[in-house]
């Protein structure tokens, strides 16, 4: 794939193509970042940074390389955030432990479920509600996964990268990708089963 630009068989991305690509991936990218950092504003910042980096640093790449490049940038930006958080927690943890409150209570997505105020969208509101609840549970399950398992699962199945591309984006072996994906899928299924839902 990397030789396409040199050989000229794969045209370089135009402004419109980049726009189309970003519009296509932005929602999934936001969700990926949100699963990882669990903060809406931080997730939006991460997505904006990743988009800007792609546009600034790789303007001369063919459009076919964008999915892979963007995912690499996005995952690295998320990792950078983790690193900064780690450094920050070294300073803030001793202080916060002094003023700790009961914030680690079990979070039940069903209790805080926000149903979209769009009743005409679907004809069967009960079904819509049920599906929204299921989505919330799946998102919760993904949030609870170890970072590498979640990353592998989302890249492989949601972004539809193949095993070698996923391995390249994650900087690990193909075997590791397969293992992470398998564990992630079974962990989500087990989580849903524990809530009485047969996936």
């Amino acid at each position: 794939m990397l030789n396409y630009a040199k050989s000229g068989t794969f045209p370089l991305a135009t402004h419109r193509e980049l726009s189309t690509f970003l519009a296509e991936v932005e929602r999934r990218a936001y969700k990926q970042a949100l699963f990882a950092v669990r903060d809406e504003h931080t997730a939006l910042d991460i997505v904006q940074d990743a988009m800007t980096k792609l546009a600034e640093k790789y303007p001369d790449k063919p459009v076919g390389e964008f999915p892979m490049l963007f995912q690499r940038i996005l995952q690295n930006t998320i990792r950078d955030y983790y690193r900064r958080q780690k450094v920050r927690s070294l300073w803030t943890t001793p202080l916060s432990s002094l003023f700790s409150s009961n914030q680690d209570e079990e979070f039940d997505p069903l209790e805080t479920l926000e149903v979209a105020d769009d009743s005409n969208k679907h004809n069967r509101p009960a079904e819509t509600l049920e599906r929204s609840q299921l989505v919330k549970l799946i998102e919760k399950a993904l949030e609870n996964l170890p970072a590498r398992q979640r990353e592998a699962f989302l890249l492989r199945y949601w972004e539809e990268l193949d095993v070698s591309e996923t391995a390249a984006a994650m900087g690990c072996s193909e075997g590791s990708v397969k293992t992470h994906c398998s564990r992630a899928t079974h962990a989500v299924a087990a989580f849903l089963k524990s809530k009485g839902i047969e996936p």
């Binding site: 939006l44 600034e56 929204s132 299921l134």
Partner: protein
């Protein structure tokens, strides 16, 4: 159900979740996309200071990178070096002229400082 089918089923639900994003979030994502496209439209320079693009992912939504901004730190550095060099040269000249003035203002005639006999006398008198 095998692993792949199970994963695809989960992904179908995730897709459903993203299709129903809050309009405020959709607007923020559009703004982020516009920002990235502006960066893409700008002319790209082969040379720029790596840290002039800094901040990386530290947040914020209006970080415009102009070529002028990239060159400012370099200009400041060069001007600083020029100032330091000028100051050192001037200071050296001032020091020399100060010593000269001090020597000339003393009662001793100037040739005693270049007279070797004076050094010998100084050493011998200090030993005594």
């Amino acid at each position: 159900m095998n692993e792949h089918d199970l994963a695809k089923k989960i992904i179908a639900h995730l897709d459903y979740g993203t299709s129903d994003l809050d309009s405020r979030l959709q607007y923020r994502l559009q703004a982020a996309r516009r920002h990235a496209l502006e960066a893409h439209a700008k002319p790209h320079h082969s040379f720029s200071l790596a840290w002039a693009h800094g901040g990386g992912s530290s947040g914020g939504h209006h970080r415009a990178h102009t070529p002028f901004r990239a060159w400012v730190p370099l200009m400041v550095l060069v001007l600083g070096l020029l100032f330091v060099t000028y100051w050192q040269t001037t200071q050296q000249m001032n020091d020399v002229s100060e010593i000269d003035a001090h020597l000339l203002a003393q009662d001793l005639p100037i040739h005693v400082f270049v007279d070797n006999g004076f050094d010998v006398w100084l050493e011998s008198s200090s030993q005594e």
